[in-house]
Amino acid sequence: MIANIGLLALALALPIALLQTGASFWGARRHRDALMQVGRNAALIQAALLTVAFACLVTAFLRSDFSLALVAMHSHSTKPFLYKFAASWGNHEGSLALWVLVLALAGGALAIRGESLAPRLRAHALGVQGMLGALFTCFLLFASNPFERLTPPAPDGLGLNPVLQDPALAIHPPFLYLGYVGLSLPFSLAVAALLEGRISSDWARWLRLATLASWSALTIGIALGSWWAYRELGWGGFWFWDPVENASLMPWLVAIALLHCAAIVEKRGALRQWSVLLAILAFSLAMLGTFLVRSGVLVSVHSFATDPTRGIFILAILACVSGGALLLFAARAARLRDDSLFAPVSREGAVLINNLLLCCGCATILVGTLYPLALETLSGAKVSVGAPFFNLTFAPLMLPLFLLLPLGPVLAWKRGSLLGALQRLQFAAFVGLAAVVGILVYRGVAPLWAPLAFGLGVWMLVGVCCEVFERLRARESRPGASFWGMSLAHAGMGVLLLGIVSHSAWSIERIESLRPGDSLDIAGFNITFENLSRALGDNFLAEQALLRVRSGNGDVFDLTAERRVYPIRATSTSESAVNYALAGDLYVVLGDNWTAEAEARVFRFYWNPLVSLIWLGAALMAIGGGCCLADRRYRASRREAKRGWEIRQRNFSADEIQ
């Protein structure tokens, strides 16, 4: 019953999406307010219908309705509540249902809150959003229906893959998808601007708002995924340059470029064409990511779906949507030309350099991710492109970005002074250099890049602090939320870099076979394998190894590394034992039972110094994004916005950025 309602809602969403597209475009073309109103209402109805459909899917999972094939494949009646909930998006069909839902919600948000936009611009954007909704609802209905029946119903389900049963991973997909699909809004706005041939500062404000919100969500999503991989996969690493990870990193990078660029459009009216192009690229990369992940074309440790028709379907959508938008850009971009002037050394110039570096970085990742696919198609040779490739290409492009990051905010608009900026940041430069020297003395020269990169991280962090301090001391104007947001995000980037550098350069790995009573020393810790015991969990059997750790300063604590066997899935997972600390994580993985001696076990020990800075940095960036969203200019109440629009309509030409 629930499933039928869900399917009905999903099926109804398709004609409504088409209505939204038709009414919005036609209304905008003919200047008919009533038709544009129909388009807005359709967007709201579509959002409501898809919310109902997704709620039905979640309910089916919570009630363990095994007459649905999807539930039977991915859930189990004994599973904990949270994972029944999370199982609804932990699979191909469910995750695409979430994709379409977020798309509709983005359209709904534009329909409700978009009063500040010119009505025709909003109608065009809603039309594009509706078109995307129709295409992806089609895909959901005809190629991956989440409400497919299983006859006869299964007596019980297969359960969720045990390695996916983790709180961080349970909420990882919704954030990731908010980010991915949220980028559809900048895309629709960009296409609408091309159709209109005109850009206003309200357009830029919306562009930045939507990009900031999506980017913050994407940051949280990626960080959660990385945190999960760090704890759950038992490799002690946080990033594996896996194609699926790259697929999320590419739109993230372009979104950073876009949100900086949109700020320039908003405040100075410069870089208009470029921002439109970036908005198109960002969503195209998000769709490409969906294609890579959901088509199974890549040999990846994630290897999700492997149905070729689905891949072709998404590829066709990608080709139509991105190809169409790029063609439109080629034809219409000239109309958005601006005459703003700025010197190479200026805030606009800094943002442009930031954009170029980010785009080049993104391009190297794109090449690294697609090269194996292209080579296999062309010559049949199978290659894998891994961390060494990206360390050699992506990392060198990011270093100048980090070097220039603290300079950008202290440069003036239009024409800045490099000397002046450096003077303001001399303290940060001094501390950064001191950090390089300190690390060289303390850690030695090998590897040489590590002290330099660490110094860069310190330079970024202290540079941001200098700027904040100066702004507070000046006291002529209190900095707004968006200044705080920017500073937090920039500081977060510095913190992230510090974490990445110390993890990649100075972590220690040891693999030892121990019997109960044996002990070993690693990074100043003395670890003793005390005993081995067995335990029974909700839906698994566990083997637990108790380890007593004595740290250098006399602290004693216990760690329990665990290996779980899930009988329902006939799989096992290792639950690594981690002692989290700011200075570094002590990380222990219990190996399998393959020795001749019944009680001996293979252990893997890691010492990961400062690794928690990685997630702390990501959190700071996401919070920074959120702070920017709270800025006064995005919080203007609806009535104000509407009144503002009416006033502007009277002096229409005056509003446009000259």
């Binding site: 996969l233 570096l357 690294g368 090269y371 492009l397 030892e512 399998d592 393959w594």
Partner: protein, 142 residues
């Protein structure tokens, strides 16, 4: 500030364009060079055991091999080194790995071993990948 004449505005706009175009060309060239160098040096070829034998891969080359772990072939040394055989059902390649294999590694299951081919014709693996598949189906259903 005095109003700019159209000529000088045009000229400055052009200078600005040329500067940033130059920058992007430079960066693009740098990226292409980096990619070319990296593709030359860092990529790893993926073989099945049969392809590995047919392609006369030299010892010391980094490779990835994929196949099934032969039933009963997994052997663990007390120091934590694992030996096992990877097969594509026509040829078999031995793999040596020091470490703990991933959770889904098991005899009779698919595996990818990443490492260097040694002179004995075995792969000294630095990383073992087993497939994480959300669509795992035990036999009997479907």
């Amino acid at each position: 500030m005095s109003p700019l004449s159209p000529e000088s505005l045009y000229g400055r706009k052009r200078k600005q364009r040329i500067f940033f175009l130059g920058c992007s060309m430079l960066l693009l060239a740098a990226s292409v060079a980096l990619i070319a160098i990296a593709l030359e040096d860092t990529i790893t070829f993926f073989y099945t055991p049969t392809e590995l034998l047919e392609n006369n891969v030299d010892a010391g080359e980094s490779v990835r091999i994929g196949g099934m772990v032969v039933e009963g072939s997994v052997d663990l040394d007390p120091d934590g080194t694992i030996f096992f055989l990877v097969t594509d059902f026509s040829n078999t390649i031995p793999v040596v790995f020091k470490g703990i294999p991933p959770d889904l590694f098991a005899e009779g299951q698919g595996v990818i071993a990443e490492g260097v081919l040694n002179v004995q014709g075995a792969v000294d693996a630095v990383r073992i990948l087993a497939k994480h598949d959300e669509n795992y189906k035990p036999p009997g259903l479907q």
